[in-house]
Subunit: 359 residues, 2 copies
């Protein structure tokens, strides 16, 4: 049995007043994550191998390694990113009311991130680490994204000040306004950031909100398997992860076994498998939803983030889990059709024309 | 009769050793221009109008106005740009040996520009304005690019330190190595920059090179019509401009009259007209070359720059003027098919498959 509040999964969910960002009203989703600026570059398999990164995964790097990989990259394009931030930009692009919490530095990348997430319609409550406190050299986080000729992305992330977020950086008033609070697993790596997420969970539950967790990355799951499992059993209502991540999380031998384990937890689980689509747990058992058709896959960066955006938008707008997965697939399909991890086309129009948006 | 040295327009041009960037050998083209980082954003006609910018043109703005327009923009993508720099990146992408001269600040945008042009294979000799000399607030130039739903771009450029380039910033050794020196008209706005261009022309001519000038923008032509005409008559061999710019330059009433006037100057003139293609002056009179077919025009930023790249590559590789215009059209067609002003696909393969590259 799912612990997800019935108001989220019932089709009889009453209409809730639609909040707009900045009005101080209710929000559909509040994301907490690492504000990053993506630095995107095309790279051949040989070039990726020379960097020592593992293709298709995210590696945390220090500033020196980030600089040395950057030097080896071809021409780049910079665009705001960050997993949970991308998801919130997607929720807003669908017409949802989204908020975001994360820590930036008082530097050019921080200003770019802050501009872009505000311009995307997301209410951003930044914790700003002022320069002049010994953190100038750290700065706002950045993610070097190597896009292969097969469109798969390999990432080297220097989280910068993002991981210095601590419980006192969590704006309780913003978090309390979220119907769902969406947590980025990446933040679990440093104790103060972990405590910040725990604080957000507490505020969320105190206000009858639901908690969604993104597993973020297989290595991230490997590092925190035990703690993530404990968290899922006690605190989390909705779980996002890809095939590899959920298999690793539950320590099982196959995707089907991972889904079974997920069902046993009573969570609402949405597990993605790239071109093979996604599987969502429902009251009637697991349901497979195909990936959206895409003319040409250009860059898979943000696919999981935008899948979560569509899913969370649906979940906060009376859509059943299967429909949520369809909305997720639609949004993921848009973002992999171009370079960059945030939507570039009108998601509302896209969802309308696919018959996935009730107006 | 054209004053272009016959070695450039004769099909009997001897093979010249192909120089690689950084070896100190001969270069096909050396560009001199404004190093800029482009900040790209989608904008509706109404949004463009609210900024007070004139659609389809480039407006020079001070830092305060650049900041206020930036605040009003939607989410942005940052990518290295600058007209002549884009052209040099295109020449290098075609396999040509290209150099670039321009002034950046010792700041994050300057580092992005420097990384990207080097990664594009262009030999960059930056004049770096160190911070701490009262110019911190100015910084590396940036260009806010508002991309309309019709793919036309409207630009607000804050040139930053780019215009503080002066004759002493011109590396005579680099300029002397160029078979063609390509000048960006935009730089004509400030006296020291103008003198820097005059210095480059002098070095170029002393070393039997040819000079190419890009008219850059109708407003730029309006500001400097008389001086540009004097320059064309005395110093320039190859002229690039679009329809509006050449009409304004020659102060005539039609494109045909502008072409006639251009022919009378004896210049090799390559005049672009968007989707209508381009016209190039040849010994046998003006020849029209169609635009390359493009599936979907996404962003016209860089179209003129990449046209010049293809043209200049051809000119330095024994291609006749009509063939040069075809190479220009091919490169322009690539760059308008995606967001951003530098090539993202393999131009050599593209030119080969179009039968435009002799190997």
């Amino acid at each position: 049995m799912s612990r997800v509040p019935s108001r989220l999964v019932s089709s009889e969910q009453p209409e809730r007043p639609h909040a707009s960002a900045g009005t101080g009203g209710a929000l559909d989703v509040v994301g907490i994550g690492s504000p990053l600026v993506d630095v995107l570059s095309s790279a051949s398999d040989a070039e990726i191998e020379r960097t020592g990164l593992v293709k298709g995964t995210m590696t945390l790097v220090d500033l020196a390694r980030a600089e040395s990989i950057y030097e080896a990259l071809g021409p780049t394009v910079e665009a705001s990113g960050g997993s949970a931030a991308n998801t919130m930009a997607g929720v807003a692009a669908l017409g949802g009311a989204a908020g975001f919490v994360g820590k930036v530095a008082d530097d050019p990348l921080g200003r770019v991130f802050t501009h872009d997430i505000g311009a995307a319609g997301v209410e951003f409550h930044p914790a700003v680490e002022k320069t002049g406190q010994g953190l100038e050299a750290v700065g706002t986080g950045r993610c070097l994204v190597l896009v292969g000729s097969d469109a798969e992305r390999t990432m080297a992330t220097h989280l910068g000040v993002a991981t210095t977020i601590s419980p006192s950086d969590i704006p309780a008033d913003l978090v309390a306004r979220g119907q769902i609070v969406y947590l980025e697993g990446y933040l679990w790596d440093l104790p103060p950031a972990k405590e910040a997420l725990r604080r957000a969970i507490e505020v969320c539950h105190d206000n009858d909100g639901s908690v969604a967790l993104s597993l973020s990355d297989p290595f991230c799951v490997e590092r925190h398997q035990r703690e993530f499992l404990d968290l899922l059993l006690d605190e989390v209502d909705v779980l996002f992860g890809n095939e590899e991540e959920v298999i690793m999380l539950f320590g099982v031998g196959s995707f089907d076994m991972a889904l079974e384990a997920g069902e046993e937890t009573g969570l609402l689980v949405a597990a993605t498998r790239g071109a093979a689509g996604s599987v969502v747990t429902t009251a009637a058992g697991p349901v497979s939803v195909p990936a959206a058709p895409v003319d040409r896959v250009v860059d898979t960066t943000g696919a999981g983030d935008l899948y979560a955006a569509g899913f969370l938008f649906g979940l906060t707008h009376g859509v059943d889990p299967t429909g949520c997965a369809r909305l997720g697939a639609l949004c993921a399909g848009e973002v992999i059709g171009h370079l960059g991890a945030r939507p570039q086309t009108d998601l509302v129009a896209l969802a309308n024309s696919a018959g996935l948006m009730e107006s």
